[in-house]
Point group: C2
Chain length 407, copies 2
Amino acid sequence: MSGSRDSASDPAMRRPDFAAWMGQGNSITQQFLSFGNRPGLIALSGGLPAAELYPVDDVQAATERALATHGSAALSYGAVEGFPELRETIARRLSTERLKLTPENVLITTGSLQAVELIGKALIDAGDAILAEYPTYLGALDAWLPRQPRYAELAYRERWPEAKFAYVVPNFSNPTGAVLARAEREALLARSEESGIWLVEDDPYGELRYDGAVQPSLLEMSARPESTVYDGPVVHLGTLSKTIAPGLRVGWAVGAPEMIRALAQAKQGSDLSTSTFCQAVSLELIRADADRRHVPTLVDAYRERRDALCAAAQEHLSDLFDWKVPEGGMFVWMTARRPGLDTNALLSFALEEGVSFVPGSVFDPSGQASPSLRLNFTANPPERLQEGVRRLSRAVRAFASQRAAAE
Amino acid sequence: MSGSRDSASDPAMRRPDFAAWMGQGNSITQQFLSFGNRPGLIALSGGLPAAELYPVDDVQAATERALATHGSAALSYGAVEGFPELRETIARRLSTERLKLTPENVLITTGSLQAVELIGKALIDAGDAILAEYPTYLGALDAWLPRQPRYAELAYRERWPEAKFAYVVPNFSNPTGAVLARAEREALLARSEESGIWLVEDDPYGELRYDGAVQPSLLEMSARPESTVYDGPVVHLGTLSKTIAPGLRVGWAVGAPEMIRALAQAKQGSDLSTSTFCQAVSLELIRADADRRHVPTLVDAYRERRDALCAAAQEHLSDLFDWKVPEGGMFVWMTARRPGLDTNALLSFALEEGVSFVPGSVFDPSGQASPSLRLNFTANPPERLQEGVRRLSRAVRAFASQRAAAE
C-alpha cells in the first residue's frame, strides 16, 4: 500500500506514494482553466457566469453594512453549521405553506460543491453505491472520488438497487441542460420513499430560467404538510454563485435535521466553518434581496446569449449535431449524428481552431468515449459565441475529413 | 456495509447508514461551541483569539481597495491553487537568501485546517501511518479521521517507521504550548531526510511570541541554498486567522511543487477554490502589512493575559497541577500531580462551577484518559481568567473530595 517512487530532483530520495484515488482523477477542470490563457481562444468549455455582470457595488455596500452591523462577529470563528442569522434567513426564504423549515434544516457551505463533497464524506464507504444520471456533473464525480464509490444509473420507473443516495440536477442539468418534468419528479420521490434512500437535489441554476414554466422543487414536493420541521429524504443544495458571484463561495444544504447534523460533523474536519466574513456579506445581500433583484438582468443577458449560440449552431452545425434548446441554465448539450464520433479526439482539432468545449466522456462515471459535447453560453458575449460556433464547425469538418482520409 | 437503521420520525422508514468513520469522531469541538451559550460560563476551553482586537477598520479598507483594484476578478471563480498575486506575495514574503520560493510552492487554502485535511486526503489510504506528537492538535485528528489512518508517536532520535508524513506544531504547540528547540528541529529534519517522509510544519502561532528567541522554521532549515525552487520535504502551513481574523478563512501551504500540485488536485473536489473575495481582501491586507503591524498589539495583550492566568494558577492550583509558562501561542497545558486524576471526569465539576477547559484525552490519537488539561488565555480579559482559575480550583477540590468519599 505504501510503496515509494523516485523524486524528480533527487534520484536517491524516495517519497511516499500519494493516495490511490489520486491516480484515478481527471484533470480536465484544471486543464480547462489553463486553456483560458491561450491567446485568442474562445472558451465554450467553462461553467462560468458573465463576470462583467457581477454586482460589485452591491457587494461593496453589503460589506459595509456587514462590518457596521456585525463588527468583529463578522470576522470570528463561527459555528460549524453557519452564521445563525443566515441559516434563519435561508430557512425563512425557502419555507412555503407546505414546507416548514427552521435553522436546524440548514447548513451553510463553502460553495455548493462543498455540500456535494460533504454528502459523500458523510455517507460513502469504499464500494458503496451512488445513483446518478448519466451523464452527470463532473464536479460531483471529482468530489466523491476520494471516497471510492460505485455508480449505478438513476432509474425513474424501476425499483432502486441498494445505494446511499441518488443525485440529480433537476433544473437545467449540467451538462445536458435538461429539466425534470413533474411526472419524473414524482417518480423519483416515490422511488426514494420506497427505498429509504436520500435524494440529493442540486439546484444551482433554478433561477436562470429563460422560457417555460417553473417546476416545484423536490424538497417542497417531499414535504408533509403536517410536519412542523422538514424531515423528508431530500437534501436540497443552493448557492449564491450563480445569482451574485462565485467568489463568495457561499452555498447551503437544506434537509432533515439528522442529515444537517451529519454534514456539520463532516464539515468540521474540512474547514471548521465557511468564512464568517463571506456569510455576513451574503446575509446582507439576501436581506436586501440583491440576488433576486439581480436575476432579471442575468436572465435577459443569458437568454440573448443562448439564442445567439443556438442560432449560430443552427446555421453551422445542424447537419452534424442534434441538440435541444435549453429552457435555462448555462449549457447546450450537442450529440453528433454520427454515433462513432469521439469528442475526446475532436477536442485537439477545436483547440487548433481556437475554441474549446467539454467532451461528454468526462461527465460519465465510467469515463466512456462519447459522441456528445457541452457548450457554455453564459461567459461570452453573442458575437464571440457566434465566432466560437464557426470555429467549432471548421474543427468538426477538419476532424471528419482527416478521419475519412485515414479510413 | 450498507445496513440500515430506523428513522426517528417514522419507524417504517429506513435510511442508509452514515459512513463508518462518522461513529468514531468526537464531538468535543461542537460541544465546546455550545458551552459558549451557558450564561456566565468562563470558557477557557476554546482556541479563539480576542475578538475585540480584530482590525475591523483594516479589513474594511482592504475590501474597498480589493474591489476597486480587482473589480469583478475579486468575485470570480479563481484558479484552484489560489489568487495568483496572493501566491506570489506569500512566496516573496517567506523567501530568504537560503529559501527560494516561487508561486508554484504556494497553495491558498480555506483556513490552514483545510491544508491539514488536504494533506490527509492526498496521502492517506486506510491503514497508512501518520507520525504525530502525543498529545497533538485535535483539529488534525478530526480532519484525518475520514481517511482512517493509523498513528505512531513521533520520535526525534530513532529511525522512523514507514509512514506517509510526520506532523508537528513546532511553535507553541496546541495543546502543550511547547516550542521545539533547535536541536529537535535538526533531528526531525534528519529523520525526514533519511526516511523520505514528508514533514508537515503547522505554524499558526509562530508570530505570537511573548518571550524567548525566535527559532528558524523547518521550511527554511530544510532548504538547499543551491536550489532555485524549494523542493524539500517540509510542507509549511500558515494562516491569517491568528494575526488578522479567522473569519476570513485564508491560510496557505508552502512546499515542493510536486506536493502543491497534489494538494491542488485534492482541493479541486473540496471547494473548487478558496473564496476569491477573501483572497483579494487578504492580498490587500498583506500588501499593506496590516497583519505584521497588528502583531505587537496582540502580543502585548496576550502576554498580559498569559501572565494573569499563570499568576492566578500559581496562587490557586500549584498544589495540584504542574505546568510550564509558554513562551507564546494561546494555551497553558496543566498536568495533575496526582497521576490517576482523569480530566474527562473533572469536566462536569468544572462546568458546575462555571468554567470550561479541554481534557487531555481529546488530543491523544487513541483517546486515552489523561491527567492533563488545556487552558486558553487569549479569549478572555485578565480578570475573567483569574476568576476562571478560581472556579477551576474549586472544581478540582470538589472533585477530589467526592472521589475521596467514594473510596
